[in-house]
Every structure is written in structure tokens, then in C-alpha cells.
Amino acid sequence: MRHVTEEELIAYREGLASQRSVISQHLAACEQCRAELQRIEAVLAALDTLPAPDPGADYGQRVWQQIAPRLPEKRGRWWRVWLEPRPLAALGAVAALIVAAFVIGRLTKRVEPGVDAANVGQVRERVLVVAVGEHLGRSEMMLVELSNAEPIDPAQKLVNISTEQRRAEDLLEENRLYRRTALQEGDAGLASVLDELERVLLDVAHSPEEVTPAQLEAIRQKIETRGILFKVRVVSNELQQRQKEIKPAPSQNNSTKKEGNKI
């Protein structure tokens, strides 16, 4: 009589066996295979004792509170979004990007067609690198200031962080724009850091205007735990490096070829 293999016993135990009745019959008759199945079951039963922590009855509500501000607006009312105060900041960032792209585009306009096509990608990347670099610099400054915030009067029990909060709100909108752009450009690393930064900015933007030292310490710890300041600095350095590596857009008087293509 052929004994049941380990794989068949696992399949039987996990409800995946194709010949379930045949295995059942064999197990009823074979003590050796029954003992083997019991050993497998003992291991799986031990694993069942590894508990997953209970996140709490209100966990669903907490998840909603955390994700609700990050959900994109509905399409039917897209035009209203741009009339609200905070998106105006994002609109400003979009306008800045368009102006920057236009200016760089004007500078590269007189290049011969082949070279021009090759440079378009570089120009786009350059615009993104410069804009994101500046955004990260501003974010870093705000986070450092927040980390060092103290009551104006030592006798005061509350610390006013309304300035940092407003800046976080503005930075949040910009950040969303750059994160989406980074994703579209296929820069997953940059998008990931911007995503982490977004969560911290969100936390700051949603904090009360005045916080107790304990609340401020909690915000600081969040910033520290995520290591976001360090990541922002690393990415800023990388962007500066990339900025140097990207070939500068050719000007009209540094190449004989370009001379020939002047209008």
C-alpha cells in the first residue's frame, strides 16, 4: 500500500487535495500517515497561536480620517477645486512650471531639429529637478523650524505653530503636484519620498494652531521616526547632482551648428 506523500497531506490539510476521499480512506487505515498528518497539524496549530494585534473597534474610522484628506476630488466639480484657497497655491506652482518650461523652451528654440528632440526630455527633467529641489528646500526649512519651535514666552503653556501649519498647507498642494509628475515621469524613488513627505505635511497641516509641548513632541517624533528630514536632504543632494549632470540647454552662440540654424 502506497503511503500518502507530505505534499498530499498538506493539500489535504489545506483543503486543496484533488483525491480527498482516497486520502481519507487511507488515513483511516494507516496509523503512520495519520501520525504524519498530526505532526503537520501540530505545526500549523502552533502558528495559529501567533496573534495579529487587534487594531481596535474604531480602526475603520481612524483609517478613514487618515485617508479622507488624501482622496482626490470628484471629477464633476473639478473647476471648483481651483477656486478654493489652497489649490490656488498649486495653481501658482503649475503656472511657475509652465513659465519655466516656456522660458527654457525659448532658449532651446533655435537648435537644429535632431538636437532639439534629444533635448526636450532633458529640459523637462531639468524643470522638474529645479522645481522639486526648491520645494524640498522649503519643506526642509519648515520642518526644521517646526522641530525647533518653542513658546514665545516661556511662561506660556501652548506653542503657536500656525505659521508652519499654513506653510505646510501650501507645500502640501505643491507636493501632490510634484509627486504625480514624478510618477508620470517614472521616477518612483522621488515619488516615494514625496509621498512620505506628503504624510508628514498632512499631519502638520491638520494639527491645531496651538499645541501643547507634548503634542509638539509627538509631531517631532513623527518627523524623526519617518526620518523624513534625512530623506529630504538626501534627495535634495541627489537632485543637485542630477542638475549638474543634465547637459545644459544649448545657447545660440556656443556651437557652429546652431549658428547655421539661426532664424
Binding site: 507530505e6 505534499e7 498538506i10 493539500a11 490539510r13 489545506e14 486543496l16 505532526r39 503537520i40 501540530a42 505545526v43 500549523l44 502552533a46 502558528l47 495559529d48 497561536t49 501567533l50 496573534p51 495579529a52 494585534p53 487594531p55 480602526y59 475603520g60 474610522q61 483609517v63 478613514w64 487618515q66 485617508i67 479622507a68 488624501r70 482622496l71 482626490p72 470628484k74 471629477r75 464633476g76 466639480r77
Partner: protein, 218 residues
């Protein structure tokens, strides 16, 4: 243990209610999505925790899964099975998170810190029969450590397949979809995971069983 609802009636009622919430969300009612988040967060958290092995990553997986679900809701064809769908999104993201975490750990080359989880799943809670003697407590701690190590030693695919099948009761087709493999391959991944866990844990489980038997006899 299993995320499947207790009765066919309740499963159908939840699926109908999910489908309605999905329709309303797609029609522009963002608050309808709240119902789905509040209903499925706990089970998605459990899956994410089992897959990632720590609370922080699990919570991140849950948030990201619902954000992605909201963004891709228009592409969701089978609207009655929102729970299954968001599960799949969470499992995929958890795999990405685990890969990322492993890379980070490899870079740091430092042993993984065990913080909150130790207290969350204190071995004392495992001992149901009588007072925990120092010996049993030691064995329990040792076994728990071995189980965590054995699970961590599985490949991402094996851990995903095992968690989804054994703990969450997912079907093989569902597991295959997450692993982007055939059903046969997904089934083999489950077998391989159990075999590996058995090789790693059987000596410790048997030692514990023997100790309990001796303790009962004495």
C-alpha cells in the same frame, strides 16, 4: 481566522451593500467610500500584519490599499466583491513593502528591532491552560521567536500564499492573481511554504508538546 462571513445570507447582504456603496462612490458621493473603509479595514489590517510582520507597515498597507482602491474604483468590474478586490490590492502592496523593507534592512545590515509586537503578542497570552510556569513561558517565548523567524525566512511569494490560504481562507485563484502566477504554481507555493515552516518548527513544537506531557504526568 477566516475573513469569510459566517453565513451565506450575511455574505450576500454585505456584498449587496458593498456594491451599493461602490456605485454611490462612483456617482460622486465620496462619503459612501467611508462605509467600505470602515467595513473592511480590520480584515485588511489582519492580512497586512500577517504579511509584513509589524504594525507600522501593516497600517501603511491598509491606508495605501484603500487609497489605491478609491483611485482605481472605475476599473473595478466585479463590484459585488469589493472586499476581495481591496484584499488583493493590499496583498500586492504588502509584497512591495516587504521587498522595500528587506532592501532597507540589507543596507543597514543590522538586526531587526523587535519593539511593539513583543508586547502586543505577549507569549503569556498564548498560555490558556493554567498558570504559566517559568519553563513553559521560556518555551513559549522560544517557540514564538522561532515562528517569527520561520515566517520571515519564507520568500515573499511563500509568505503571501501561506497567509492568504491558511490564515485568511483565500481561494487558490485569488492567491494566483496576487502572485501573478498560474493556479498550479500558487498551489505549489502554498505547499512549499508549509513544508519549510514544518522543517523549521517541528522540533520546537514537539519539544513543547513533550514538556507539556511531562508536566501533566508529574
Amino acid at each position: 481566522m477566516n475573513r469569510m462571513p459566517q453565513s451565506v445570507e450575511s455574505a450576500n447582504a454585505i456584498a449587496d451593500s458593498d456594491a451599493l456603496a461602490v456605485e454611490r462612490t462612483l456617482a460622486g458621493d465620496r462619503d459612501a467610500f467611508r462605509v467600505l473603509v470602515e467595513r473592511h479595514s480590520q480584515s485588511v489590517f489582519r492580512l497586512a500584519y500577517r504579511m509584513t510582520g509589524n504594525r507600522h507597515d501593516a497600517e501603511e498597507v491598509v491606508q495605501e490599499a484603500f487609497l489605491r482602491a478609491y483611485q482605481k474604483l472605475g476599473q473595478f468590474a466585479s463590484r459585488a466583491n469589493f472586499g476581495t478586490w481591496v484584499y488583493r490590492i493590499a496583498a500586492n502592496y504588502a509584497i512591495d513593502r516587504m521587498r522595500q523593507r528587506r532592501k532597507e534592512e540589507a543596507r543597514r545590515e543590522a538586526p531587526r528591532a523587535e519593539g511593539q509586537e513583543k508586547t502586543e503578542s505577549d507569549p503569556v497570552n498564548l498560555v490558556h491552560d493554567g498558570k504559566p510556569t517559568p519553563e513553559r513561558l521560556t518555551q513559549s517565548i522560544e517557540l514564538r521567536k522561532q515562528m517569527q523567524q520561520a515566517l520571515a525566512a519564507l520568500s515573499h511569494a511563500e509568505r503571501t500564499a501561506f497567509v492568504m490560504r491558511h490564515w485568511e481562507g483565500c481561494g487558490i485563484e485569488e492567491i494566483a492573481a496576487v502572485l501573478k502566477s498560474s493556479s498550479g504554481s500558487a498551489k505549489n507555493t502554498v505547499f512549499r511554504a508549509v513544508q519549510k515552516l514544518r522543517r523549521s518548527l517541528q522540533p520546537f513544537v514537539e519539544r513543547g508538546t513533550q514538556a507539556r506531557v511531562m508536566g501533566t504526568e508529574s
